[in-house]
Structures are given as structure tokens and as C-alpha cells.
């Protein structure tokens, strides 16, 4: 079973990398970029075939390691 996990910074957490990208886009002539936030994307392949069990496993993985829930949100998408 395949999963896609998106990890993004919580609202209010300063994202200097996103800001730098935003600035670089502006200097490339892309006007009207109001904001850029950078995140992370993970593809995870699981042996588990039961969707509910896989979802539970992935949630634990995110809570314990993949995301730092102090500063990040995560979103799990099961294929």
C-alpha cells in the first residue's frame, strides 16, 4: 500500500526558506507572488493491506518522527 505524506509548517511559524524563494521568484519577474511556504513530501510504501490499519500506522509515524507537531502539520493520503 502506498501513501503520500505532506508536512507543512503551521500557520504563524516563520518560514525563511519560503521567504527566500518568494524573493527569488520576484527577481525572476514573477510578479504578484503574495507568499511562498515550503514543505516536505514523503512517499511511503507499506506491507499492510488493510486501509484503516495503514492509516493508523502512518498517523503514528507522523506523530513520532516524520513531523514535529510543535511546528508542523501533516496530511496523509493513502493510494
Amino acid at each position: 500500500m502506498k501513501a503520500k505524506i505532506k508536512v507543512t509548517l503551521k500557520n504563524g511559524v516563520l518560514d525563511p526558506q519560503g521567504k527566500a524563494i518568494e524573493g527569488a521568484l520576484g527577481s525572476l519577474g514573477f510578479n504578484g507572488v503574495n507568499s511562498v511556504r515550503q514543505g516536505k513530501f514523503f512517499e511511503v510504501e507499506l506491507a499492510e493491506t488493510d486501509k484503516a490499519k495503514a492509516q493508523a500506522q502512518l498517523k503514528q509515524m507522523c506523530e513520532k518522527l516524520i513531523a514535529n507537531t510543535v511546528i508542523e502539520n501533516y496530511d496523509i493520503e493513502l493510494a
Binding site: L14, P16, Q17, K64, L65, N68, V70, I71
Partner: protein, 220 residues
């Protein structure tokens, strides 16, 4: 004063920390590899600086979940003294021993320079030989030392005197909230800091400003 210095793949400041502890406490620290599951019998554990696991995923994230950290967490909960310096601060924060998180420096640059630190709390086991409000020089070397936490946590830290070290106003090298350079937990037995006091204790370091920190360990 028996101590242990933890070693993870990618850590590179353990030798300086071992030297500083040996010089100041008179006892050579144990160096403990991350795959160990039990700490030796010690009074203090130091998590040194470096780039554990190449800063993969998040700084300190993987090291924080290594086998030895389970024992560190269990013993810290019972009062074992723990100090995390630089990557060590990131590791113990990722491990949940301290609140908040350390993120990318606000100006996006790795900073390697000397900063001015104010001792905000001299009642800890690492600052008791310092005067409260004393200002010392101390080197920093990090790319992700920008301390952040939610407003409630910040209020708690400030209200309970748990901001132990603060960058002197106007010298904050990383954008950390409230110029925070180092904090302790509620019980006071876990301290994390971004600067490297182990590199400012002898004449060859240029200054010995941070020697009293290590001397504090003996009084604690």
C-alpha cells in the same frame, strides 16, 4: 562528578566537550555510542554539537529517536542532569525533553561567530558560579538555532525564569524568539543552549568567559 557524552553518527564536537569536562571536573567522561541502551552510572549527560545524521529530516530528529535516548529520557524524568549544546539542544528538544523547536536561522545563513550572552538565571546547575545578569562571550556555530515556541510556552519560560541564556539585545544571530539562547525544563535538570561554552574556557580559546559554567557543575 561523573559524566557521559553521547555520540551519534555525524556529531563532531564531542572531543571539545570531553576535553572541557575532563579539564574542569577532573574526571574523563564516558563516551556513549547511540546504539547503547543503558547509560553508565553518571551525574550528568551531555549531548554535544555537530550534525547528527547530516541533519536529515530535521536537525536532531533522528538522533532523538536512537536507542540511548530512551534511557536518557527515563533518567532525566527522575532528575538526571542533562545538557544539550547546539545540535545537542536540537536533539533533546526533538526528544521532548525541552519545549519548543529550533528552526532555520531567520537570515538563512549559517552563523559562526562570537556572541554576547546574558546569564538570565544563575540558579541552575550550569550557571551557579555566574552572577545573574552577567554578560559573557561565547561562540556560536549553527544554521538552525532559531528558537520558537507557542505564546503560552514562551510566557511559561519567561515567568518561571527558564530562559537561562539570552543573546544580548542587538546580537541575536538567528532570529530566536525573545533572544533566547538557552532554556531549562520545569524541574531545572535539563538545559539546552545553542552557543558552545566548551570552546571558551581556556587561554588558547582567546577568552575563558565560560569556565564558570563548567565550574558550576562541581558546585551543583
Amino acid at each position: 562528578m561523573k559524566s557521559a557524552v553521547l555520540l551519534f553518527p555525524g556529531i563532531n564536537r564531542e572531543t571539545d566537550m570531553v576535553a572541557a569536562l575532563e579539564k574542569t571536573t577532573g574526571v574523563k567522561p564516558h563516551v556513549v555510542w547511540h546504539t547503547e541502551t543503558t547509560l553508565p552510572k553518571v551525574d550528568l549527560v551531555v549531548v554535544p554539537g555537530g550534525f547528527s545524521y547530516g541533519d536529515y529530516l530535521r536537525c536532531g530528529a533522528i538522533a532523538a529517536r536512537s536507542p540511548i535516548m530512551a534511557d536518557v529520557k527515563a533518567k532525566a524524568a527522575k532528575g538526571l542532569k542533562v545538557i544539550g549544546v547546539c545540535n545537542g539542544f536540537q536533539i533533546i528538544t526533538e526528544a521532548g525533553l525541552l519545549p519548543g523547536a529550533l528552526v532555520r536561522n531567520a537570515q538563512l545563513k549559517f552563523v559562526c561567530k562570537e556572541v554576547r550572552l546574558r546569564i538570565e538565571n544563575n540558579r541552575t546547575f550550569f550557571t551557579n558560579k555566574m552572577a545573574e545578569g552577567a554578560v559573557v562571550s561565547c561562540p556560536v556555530a549553527h544554521g538552525e538555532g532559531n528558537y520558537i515556541c507557542d505564546p503560552e510556552t514562551l510566557q511559561e519560560l519567561e515567568g518561571e525564569g527558564r530562559v537561562v541564556f539570552r543573546y544580548v539585545e542587538g546580537t541575536n544571530p538567528n532570529g530566536a524568539m525573545s533572544d533566547i539562547a538557552g532554556i531549562c525544563n520545569a524541574a531545572g535538570n535539563v538545559i539546552g543552549m545553542m552557543p558552545h561554552p566548551e570552546n571558551m574556557i581556556e587561554a588558547l580559546h582567546g577568552k575563558r568567559d565560560c569556565l564558570p559554567l563548567f565550574e558550576s557543575l562541581l558546585a551543583a
